[in-house]
Symmetry: C2
Subunit: 320 residues, 2 copies
């Protein structure tokens, strides 16, 4: 198979290179008749744009980057997996490709940004695992690099677009479900205060209980099954427990057999053991991230950043 360039197409269609380029990039400036002829030539030759050449001229690579993290606590690892899949799908539709990178620590990640930007002319980034005092967003913002975060900027000023899952709404839904099932003594098993996500998950449960005028009882544990189990044992009065993660929920199931338990993240573990859990709409979140990033990349972004809070859904199984 010969190499098919824009020049090949031009000859076949009997026009100049630039006209072919116009048909591809700004079809409206070409007469419909010519446009159609060029399109036929493109199709019959199986022509495809050479991204490297385009990139050299325009400085845009049609590439996005996402960090792939080591499966940390493992049990929640598949969350990123599903997000990545959704993002790759959405990016393809929008004409972009997703590149992976790893990095240890925020500084290492910033060094990687620099490398990817100068070597590959990356068009944009999707950041995950935002946290308090995150230096990555300001670094990117200072250099006018388009980016979107999955996870809101905890503590930092809200100057960029982000997509997040409404964690509080998730635990609120779980709590309402338990209330509707007749429970009144609903406890909470959460993470130590300070993490944005964990605090929001507690808040959803607490406010729903307050609205119902019921007393609350909660305990705290670092994430993990064993630690969750020993903390759950201290929830003596509760007949039902809302948990900040599936790992904790698994611990609670072991420590308090027979009680109603709800987890968070709807991981594979939850499906496997029949744990009722709050499910994040990861494919949708990924799609929205791509939408927002595409707006930024096309320069048609609104002047004020967009913030999207997606509602999670409760997947009811055997444990509640």
């Amino acid at each position: 198979m010969e190499k098919v360039t824009i020049a090949t197409v031009a000859v076949r269609a009997g026009v100049s290179r630039q006209t072919v380029s116009n048909v591809i990039n700004t079809p409206e400036v070409v007469r419909p008749e010519t446009r159609e002829r060029v399109r036929e030539a493109i199709a019959s030759l199986g022509y495809r744009v050479n991204q490297a050449a385009r990139q050299m001229r325009t400085g845009r690579s049609k590439l996005l980057a996402v960090r792939i993290e080591p499966a940390r606590d493992g049990i929640n690892g598949s969350v990123l997996d599903r997000f990545l899949h959704g993002l790759t799908d959405a990016a393809t539709v929008a004409g972009y490709r997703v590149m992976l990178y790893t990095a240890s620590g925020d500084d290492g990640e910033i060094a990687t940004y620099e490398e990817l930007l100068t070597e590959y002319d990356l068009d944009g980034f999707v950041l995950t695992s935002t946290h308090h005092g995150d230096p990555r967003t300001s670094w990117l913002a200072e250099r006018d690099v388009p980016f979107v975060t999955f996870g809101r900027p905890w503590g930092a000023p809200d100057t960029h677009s982000w997509v997040d899952v409404d964690n509080a709404a998730g635990t609120a839904a779980a709590t309402r479900h338990l209330l509707a099932t007749g429970h009144t003594r609903i406890g909470f098993l959460g993470w130590p205060a300070g993490s944005g996500v964990g605090d929001a998950r507690r808040e959803g449960w607490a406010s729903t209980m307050a609205e119902a005028g019921l007393p609350t009882e909660d305990v705290v544990a670092v994430d993990g099954v064993d630690s969750g189990a020993s903390a759950a044992e201290r929830l003596t009065n509760a007949t039902a427990v809302v948990c900040a993660s599936d790992s904790l929920a698994l611990g609670a199931m072991r420590a308090l057999p027979g009680r109603a338990i709800v987890g968070f993240d709807d991981t594979a573990v939850a499906r496997a053991v029949g744990l009722t859990s709050v499910s994040q709409p990861l494919a949708e979140a990924a799609g929205r991230c791509m939408d927002l990033l595409a707006e930024l990349l096309d320069g048609r972004a609104p002047t004020t950043p967009t913030h999207l809070l997606l509602p999670p859904s409760l997947v009811v199984r055997r444990t509640a």
Copy 2:
């Protein structure tokens, strides 16, 4: 920050562009003294190769692609996750970047190959989930596209390099462990015959039992916790069960409480519930895939393809 090109570096070092290029690509042809001067200029200017320009001239992109699959049965989803992380790491060290793509079906995947090859000049592919009658490998081989598979070519001729985990060795190790613990009636809970991976896992158990001169008893179920549980109930004599996956093992745990159970894949679920399981060396497998691919890409590959079978390890927990 100004744009730093090879010309900027050349001026700073007082040499020509080509000499700078030689320092980068074939340092041995440059006199040590000059080489050092150029290297200093590169460092002080923070110069980095523009991959697009290089690619246009050389036709090589320094990009690899891997398919990211939808989390199928979910419980085993994080296997790909960990593999991807390892591959991204190894690729970075070797000077490559990993690009993701999704595709539905083998034909869709082949169409994507074509697109990635012509648009982005991809250098190579890493294939996962090889299966009987896989058309992807022959498509790539016909076009001389470098690729490596993670998973051996079941049934197909062994004409390309691959890396795989020795599934039989995994179940053999599990069986030996159970024998050493005093069990003699060890059953097997597997998938229906026909899948290469599943058959290998059965074989490891069967041959170890045969060596020990013990009778065997096994049942079959499609992958899944519930299906595993109902199949496991038919294993009436066994005091211990080796399973083809963690999902099946979870079913067995439910159906046969108190018996010794070993799963396969060491997924998050296994860690969470304390299930003894066979762990695949995914980071190493990814690294080896990258090594083999790098050989192909550098043209220093041996004439006969390399095949690597990596031994898995048994992670002993509460269930055995």
